[in-house]
Subunit: 399 residues, 2 copies
């Protein structure tokens, strides 16, 4: 790779729309600029405040330096991104009484959570990631939360496979092409519900893996993360994993709710969001380094262990490579820890020795279909789906 | 199985030393008898109190009903069993400065945790279990904490493989047969340290899998669980996983510390503990049901999903069978969720329909070497290593 930022002139950088600059200024998001943090909102007061950057009452991300190496992200460190304020905590008082309406199946009806629990049990580890994760690295400062890497985690869900529920209700009706979930957030009166409701459609193929989950990381699902019941669509961006799910419909068309029709679209620069543009569905292959961290003090010269995470959306990760010179030379990293399945992330580790000076550490993952994490992000007005390995690089100083 | 307790007369039960009675009275340990629970000690104040039974300031177990189905036990629900009060929390102030002394290797010396972190990274999920887990089911009320099933959990550790450290120090000296770890608890003055020190030896073969761990479940290792550094011996009973490890020695003989020489021995009834008796090392194949729970109110007649956990010590689990009639007829359960490796436990699920009446639900696991979980515990004065499937049965009433 001859075009790594370390070889680019300032003019070349600016000519690239500031992309490389954005990568290099990454440290700002985890620096003492956040020395006076916002407090956690009440529904998330149980979270580990030092691990989180609180952007707002509905948006909190995990600090890059808080990510451990144990594959699973602890619940109290996991990011929060709610499109609406969460419902009253009272909905958790009698979890088993939560009602889910099933539509678009042969025998459409409502089921209590207690009944869902008798239809089967499946446990799956998935990467949960906001589609805007990495937005802070977009040069044009797209509107939305400036997430860096922390709007993601790898957690374990338990629940009933949607396919079991569908089977119990006689199967999907003919002609249905989407699985459409509706969240249970309370909507203000006097406003068109479609303009606010969290209702998303995913292709019917997602049915094979989708889960109705009541447990995360071994505990009953919290209000902050969608309890008592959440739709999990493994490998899909976070917004498709509907919290407080109250209606699951098999539909012939995508919902016309605003969050689907105009929100979360990969809109080319200069255009308006439109249902014809791709929606944020499957996640792309992606990786980043969690240690050393960009904002750390100068490292001592000598051996260093670089580690981070890599995932491939609906596919697993085949390989991770690391470069300590901004992408000129790549070497394979070691995948460490248990493999929790194709929807989970893998930890990778890379032992090296760094001499005095400045180094740009980058990594790139390859999924099991051979797709390689790209150098450049795909530009879009919403700042979605940033998988650029260059954007996610970490600059370190070695003393 | 014709000798299930449901077919035994009261006289037969008593003739068996109350073993079956103990199994049937299991509910007592999770019943309102604990309505006024002890508070959590300060060093464990971050734990989820409703999930735990606090036996003492150094012994807390997870309630059977608190175990979820997500394979990993959340840190705030994990049992605590400390042989001594934990050290001052100040030892966590500068984790990287923790010093471990390595002895019995070619180049014996001390290493800082920061240096250990450069020698490699491995992540492993293990069942952590107190060897006295299940002691409450022993008929003779052996002295020690009356654990039922909750002195166990499945957690993820990150650290450096001991073999990497040994390699960096030139290898194990000739003639060494044991790996001996010494805990960093502060000992009172004026008492023979050997009478109190937490120092245990395990066979050298454990070196292949042993880890020096600084992280559990994605977070820096807590004081309650042995932080900043703990020796993890996957597949071995909890006491061998030395907390606050300050010395790791390869030795020709087992340590003569009391906790090794006379403690945790499988002492036949009527005898005194003796170093010639087997120590509690590898865990045996074991399983139990977590839902439905013994203390639950009568279930509604109809479909029920039975689920629980199964593990095989250093081997994985090949199969779990469930019986709803106290062991007369067995059917295979389904293993669910990700397989986190041979040291982790597996979740199992079994769908059935229960008619009105009383049912004794039992399960038994088979490890990958074909070893089947036994019906009866092996009697010993300390109440260790209880793997009896009968003892771990769950009696339910169906309305």
């Amino acid at each position: 790779m001859s075009d790594s930022p370390s070889t680019l002139s300032r003019r070349q950088w600016l000519g690239r729309g500031g992309a490389a600059l954005a990568a290099w200024s990454l440290g700002a998001w985890t620096s003492p600029a956040f020395a006076q943090p916002r407090p956690l909102p009440a529904y998330a007061a149980w979270k580990d405040a030092p691990s989180l950057i609180v952007h707002s009452n509905t948006t909190m991300e995990t600090r890059r330096g808080a990510f451990g190496t144990s594959v699973i992200t602890p619940s109290n460190q996991l990011y929060i991104r709610n499109n609406l304020p969460p419902p009253e905590a009272a909905i958790l008082a009698q979890r088993d009484e939560w009602v889910l309406e099933l539509v678009g199946v042969a025998q459409a009806r409502s089921l209590r959570l207690a009944e869902l629990k008798t239809l089967g049990l499946e446990t799956v580890a998935t990467v949960l990631q906001c589609s805007g994760n990495g937005r802070a690295f977009f040069p044009g400062k797209p509107s939305g939360t400036p997430w860096t890497v922390g709007a993601a985690g790898c957690v374990v869900w338990s629940g009933v496979p949607v396919r079991n529920v569908v089977k119990a209700l006689g199967g999907v009706q003919d002609g249905m092409k989407f699985l459409t979930g509706t969240g249970g957030e309370k909507l203000p009166e006097g406003i068109d519900p479609k303009s606010l409701v969290v209702e998303r459609s995913v292709p019917l193929a997602a049915l094979d893996d989708a889960l109705l989950a009541w447990e995360m990381n071994g505990e009953p699902l919290s209000l902050a993360h969608g309890g008592p019941l959440r739709l999990i669509v493994p490998g899909y961006q976070g917004v498709n994993n509907i919290k407080y799910i109250q209606r699951l419909a098999f539909t012939a068309r995508e919902t016309d709710a605003r969050i689907m029709a105009h929100g979360y679209r990969l809109t080319p620069p200069g255009q308006q969001p439109d249902p014809a543009q791709p929606s944020v569905w499957e996640m792309g292959v992606k990786s980043w380094i969690n240690s050393p961290q960009p904002a750390q003090e100068p490292l001592a010269a000598g051996p260093v262990l670089i580690h981070g995470v890599a995932f491939g959306g609906v596919r697993g990760v085949q390989q991770v490579e690391v470069s300590v010179d901004g992408g000129k030379q790549w070497k394979p990293a070691e995948l460490v820890g248990p493999d929790l399945g194709r929807f989970a992330w893998r930890q990778f580790a890379f032992k090296t020795t760094l001499a005095s000076g400045t180094h740009l550490l980058v990594c790139r993952a390859t999924d099991t279909a051979g797709q390689v994490q790209p150098q450049a992000r795909m530009d879009n007005t919403g700042g979605y789906n940033n998988t650029s390995w260059l954007d996610h690089g970490v600059k370190v100083q070695v003393a």
